[in-house]
């Protein structure tokens, strides 16, 4: 078996990189009227608008967590989970559309609604 990438394989990987880069640029367009929802299990337990600073406590399967909203971004703090992946994910914003998940608590925090800025 060969170890290093052949020309064809290199081209395929380069194409994948380009597609992902374009995809990310499209996703990062400025957005309006953003709603973020916090889901526990299958149920939406809270919705918020990221332009209003706030602190929400969310009950989960593992002691729950707090969602801090500040300056249009949000992140998880005071998490009561063993792996702390949710807090390590860091800040999420309407631009990056990152979904924060806390598996032990069965909580997902994600952008649910938005409109794109039109010029």
């Amino acid at each position: 078996m060969r170890t290093f990438l052949q020309k064809k394989e290199l081209i395929m990987i380069a194409l994948t990189v380009v597609v992902c880069a374009v995809w990310i640029l499209v996703l990062r367009r400025p957005k309006h009227n953003v709603t973020v929802q916090i889901v526990h299990g299958q149920e939406v337990v809270r919705e918020f608008h990221p332009d209003e600073d706030a602190l929400y406590h969310i009950e989960g399967d593992c002691g729950g967590l707090d969602v801090e909203v500040k300056g249009g971004r949000w992140h998880v703090i005071n998490e009561q989970c063993p792996n702390h992946i949710c807090a390590h994910t860091g800040w999420a914003s309407p631009e990056d559309m990152i979904v924060i998940t806390c598996m032990p608590n069965d909580i997902v925090i994600q952008v649910s609604e938005y409109t794109y800025e039109t010029r």
């Binding site: 078996m1 990438l5 880069a21 889901v39 390590h88 979904v99 998940t101 997902v108 994600q110 952008v111």
Partner: protein, 169 residues
């Protein structure tokens, strides 16, 4: 049992054990790089099995590790287990469909890493009915190319040193 078979069984058992240990070490000590993304050091053992014993070797190590690691950690059949199973199944399937004779190890490793992430994202999207999860997919795929290169390089270096040792026995 032929002598070659015994050796194969022993090496595959050791590789599976190494994969399980890597899996647990990574989930306890290394943690995710970005979002829930990990390097996937257990994949190094799977790739070594692929080079030494082909598709069957890869399947053996992957099936053993995907069940044994969560069983030892007490997370078997939990949400995280299904997500990891989806990732490993999709990446194993992809490598099985690609011809290891035609492609390079690094390419197989990168494809495996990308479909591993794809499988995990799909599982999260299905389990939580969250189509929005797709927004993280391009980030995961880009990072998978990097982690695929890392694990692929590590595996090829390991094989280079393992082959002369195996020939002696």
């Amino acid at each position: 049992m032929r002598p070659g078979e015994t050796r194969k069984l022993t090496v595959l058992a050791m590789l599976s054990a190494a994969a399980v240990v890597c899996n647990i070490l990574e989930s306890v000590y290394i943690g995710p790089l970005f979002l829930n993304m990990r390097i996937g050091i257990a994949n190094i053992a799977s790739l070594i099995a692929l080079v030494l014993y082909g598709k069957k070797g890869l399947c053996t190590v992957n099936i053993i590790r995907v069940i044994t690691a969560p069983a030892l950690q007490g997370t078997l059949f939990g949400t995280a287990f299904w997500i990891s199973l989806a990732g490993v199944s999709l990446s194993t399937l992809t490598v099985l469909l690609l011809d290891p004779q035609k492609h390079s190890l690094l390419f197989l490793s990168i494809c495996g890493a990308m479909t591993h992430s794809l499988g995990q994202v799909l599982a999260v999207a299905l389990l939580y009915r969250q189509a929005a999860m797709a927004a993280s997919l391009p980030y995961y795929i880009l990072l998978s190319i990097v982690t695929g290169l890392l694990t692929g390089t590590a595996a090829s270096l390991a094989v280079k040193h393992l082959k002369p040792v195996l020939r002696r026995y």
